[in-house]
Subunit: 516 residues, 2 copies
């Protein structure tokens, strides 16, 4: 309620607005600006407010809704901060970008039933099918805040690059990568990941998925036919390895990261790891495990494929240096801008062990003759000018607020869920086994809570995810990322959604799970 | 020297300039503006005039050189038209882009001897090594006029795209390609190549080289283990097929294109063709051969891989429709922007036979999860707005003048050479066998000339190419593109170089061949 006096039951309808049929009667007590921002965001997401369209002047909307003008101003301010609208003096407030939550995209798959979206044995197209499913809130993991993408800085850098490049730069490029970007990445890795690499050691690729595909022939030529992977571990990564004909050997993960004793027992010569923030559990590879792993690599000639997918995003813990920084000879390091800027850019880098470099460049040559040149030069500029570091600082602040919102909402709406890996990254994992990790109540500092059974015995997490989608919330089942069975869980991304959406998403999720 | 009075023998030197140590005494009679433009271009190419640097005011340079101001104005105008300099009112005339002829690039290979650049059995890195070799004039084939790249239009389109795209567009894209670009390509192919394809039939890839790599698993799954190729035919294409483990079956090419009777005799189930402008001979697949080929495909279940690499560039002949326009079921069509805009963009498209589409998209997914999104949206805009067609018309006019300059120069400096395939494309081929094709004298309408033996018996064309490089001109030996031996020849690209450079390059080439 908005504080204005109400009369009869008709009275409350008078406080509504033709614009989006907003009715302040729907707003929760005290959260008027939140509510308004949320409704506007929803309307932008589902296309009722189109990009390029104009919001009503604050004065007008406040009058229609019979709320103070400050409420509307605050709601617009949040959308502006979020990158969805932009104030333009005389042009008013204009919609400039739809939220990722329910943005445009192929909708054909939307006809499918939620249960069909979550097969227990997902194929390679599972992520695209899920991405295309309509939902009002998307809490799938793997995306940073895309509304924060530095469009203006990107365009400025592109203008500078187009002004400076020579005609020769527009010809066939170098499959190794543009020298300017290799220099910039070497500098970035030195500053941010403790890795000392010569620009010639860096190979530019189209993201980590491509890095894995390029490594197939290189690994095979080196006699590596099987790769150990973390279990649970990324489904997408595993699919990419298997597609190259490599055998997959699961190795269990615990709170200290991969179990190196179990790795040693498999006899595998190579292992794919996410040591800085294990996907999906969020565990950090402990110091003892690191030393053990490096002994495994040095003594037994083991090879570590280090997937450093979201290492730059951390909140409550000191930075974790890359394994590559400790043992260059046996570590093949992979990183990308997918979590720093946007996956749509398709730019990443590999710092392979010295003996692999030429073979990797050759594989890149045959795959696509090298990454496109303009985006490489633009990115090099953003890295060299400090703009990318500035962007990372901005993202960290935003992501932290979103994570905090998620943990608070889990404590409220999923009180028995156990939260894993929330100290860093773009996602967290919840399980419903009541074992390991902390409950959300503990994570927010509410002290050891009674670990209430979530009442989910006998239910699979694919069923949970389908139930959530029926309520308009998209999440990933933890079992997708498991090779061996384990307790049910959900992988929840918070970074790409506004805190209000995160909170609302978890509320709906709680309702979905209780309502099954 | 400047304009200070000089005495006797010093007099001619007095017409020189401190700026670049220009001496009009070096200029050929009557060609003063040509000469000056040439010297300036050379200085930009080798870095003496850096990008961002300023040329002297026309009045000042004319006075120093003691030439009319019109000569300097004309030379500056040519460089401006060429995209190397730009007039900026008070800022004067500023260098904005180095010519591709000797642009910046990895120079390490420049230490190599010319002969090392031209092995008789070139490996996959041969093109990069040659590209990195310094030369004052680059007549290697495969590039359009890169100085004409529409930088301003590209930037405008990018600004519009960045202003309009949603946050969701910045997430993981569709491996099939962005819908907007698939629509735009379908329209482009309908307008320019006579192909009727649904946007869903179009798969966006990172150029033709990637298209071939993506086809490997698709072909293998279809039981195709060998691919027939044109002989002579593109070395790069062949290397990409072989890298995928496919066997190569050479089929001879004559003036009517591939010999379909010979193709039939090989028993191969698939053939890779360049029907619109055969690489490197420039032959057009004749009507009779097309019908024969389509019978081969329909009756025998043959598959045609159509590499339509430079079909949009034609000068003295009507357009040749794509084979795909005639037989969709058995033709896998491949095109790209490499010859329309720039290879550095790494964007191309495949219109596969219906049964191959899903497998191709799957291969693309595993290779890189799909092309980068921003450049796809920018390109879609340039195609839909008509800017790309405008650019193509501009290129055609420029390329035709460059081709004419090359044919005229060959007539003068390589009178016995036989010219092949000059009616279209970005390159022509010369042979020194005196058989087939026309001599350059005939090509420029000088009537049937006596086919003088070029005096090159017993010399390999890799030796010719090495001799040319010693004189500062980069060309490709025809034998690189041959599977079976044949007369020596050179493949000469004209599209990427200014007419003056083309003329000078052919002059130097003539000197190199005579001087061996």
């Amino acid at each position: 309620m908005n504080g204005v006096e109400k009369g009869t039951s008709e009275r409350s309808k008078a406080s509504g607005s033709d614009f989006l049929q907003l009715d302040v009667g729907d707003a929760p007590t005290g959260g008027m600006a939140d509510w308004l921002a949320w409704r506007l965001r929803e309307a932008i997401a589902d296309g009722r407010l189109a990009v390029g369209g104009r919001l009503p002047p604050t004065r007008v909307l406040a009058a229609e809704l019979r709320v103070s003008r400050g409420v509307v101003t605050e709601a617009y301010r949040r959308l502006t901060e979020d990158g969805h609208v932009e104030g333009r003096r005389r042009g008013g407030t204009v919609v400039v970008a739809a939220p990722v939550d329910a943005g445009p995209g192929p909708r054909a798959a939307g006809q499918e039933q939620p249960a069909v979206m979550f097969p227990t044995a997902p194929g390679p197209e599972a992520f695209e099918v899920l991405r295309a499913a309509p939902a009002s809130i998307d809490l799938t993991p793997g995306l940073p805040d895309l509304a924060a993408f530095p469009r203006a800085a990107w365009l400025r850098a592109e203008r500078a690059v187009l002004g400076e490049l020579s005609a020769a730069d527009l010809g066939y490029g170098n499959p190794h990568g543009t020298p300017a970007l290799r220099r910039a990445v070497a500098g970035w890795l030195a500053r941010n990941r403790g890795i000392r690499a010569d620009p010639d050691d860096v190979v530019i690729v189209a993201g980590t998925a491509q890095a894995l595909t390029l490594l197939h022939p290189v690994l095979r030529a080196d006699g590596v036919g099987a790769v150990a992977v973390e279990d649970p571990g990324s489904l997408g990564t595993r699919q990419h390895l298997e597609n190259g004909g490599l055998d997959i050997v699961p190795v269990p993960v615990d709170a200290d990261g991969i179990r190196v004793d179990a790795l040693r027992a498999t006899g595998a010569r190579a292992v794919l790891l996410t040591p800085a923030h294990q996907f999906p559990t969020g565990a950090v590879l402990s110091g003892e495990r690191r030393r053990e792993l490096l002994r495994w690599a040095e003594d037994g000639g083991g090879l570590v494929l280090e997937d450093d997918y979201d290492a730059e995003h951390r909140y409550d813990r000191p930075p974790v240096p890359a394994l590559r920084a400790m043992l260059a000879e046996r570590v093949c390091y992979m990183g990308s801008v997918s979590k720093l800027l946007a996956p749509a850019l398709r730019v990443g880098w590999v710092v392979p062990p010295p003996g692999y470099r030429d073979a990797l460049v050759n594989a890149k040559r045959f795959t696509d003759l090298g990454n496109a040149v303009l985006p490489q030069l633009v990115l090099a500029r953003l890295m060299e000018s400090g703009e990318l570091e500035r962007h990372l600082r901005l993202l960290r602040g935003r992501h932290r607020r979103r994570r905090d919102a998620m943990i608070a909402a889990i404590a409220e709406h999923l009180p028995g869920a156990v939260v894993h890996g929330a100290a860093a990254g773009l996602h967290l994992t919840v399980t419903f086994d009541g074992a390991g990790g902390q409950t959300a109540a503990e994570a927010v500092g509410a002290g050891p809570a009674g670990r209430a059974d979530a009442g989910l015995t006998g239910v699979t997490d694919t069923e949970l995810a389908a139930a959530a989608l029926s309520c308009g919330v998209k999440v990933q089942p933890l079992s997708w990322h498991r090779l061996r069975t384990g307790p049910p869980g959900l992988v929840l991304g918070y970074a790409a959604s506004h805190p209000d959406a995160v909170t609302e998403g978890v509320r709906l999720l709680g309702r979905a799970l209780r309502g099954r």
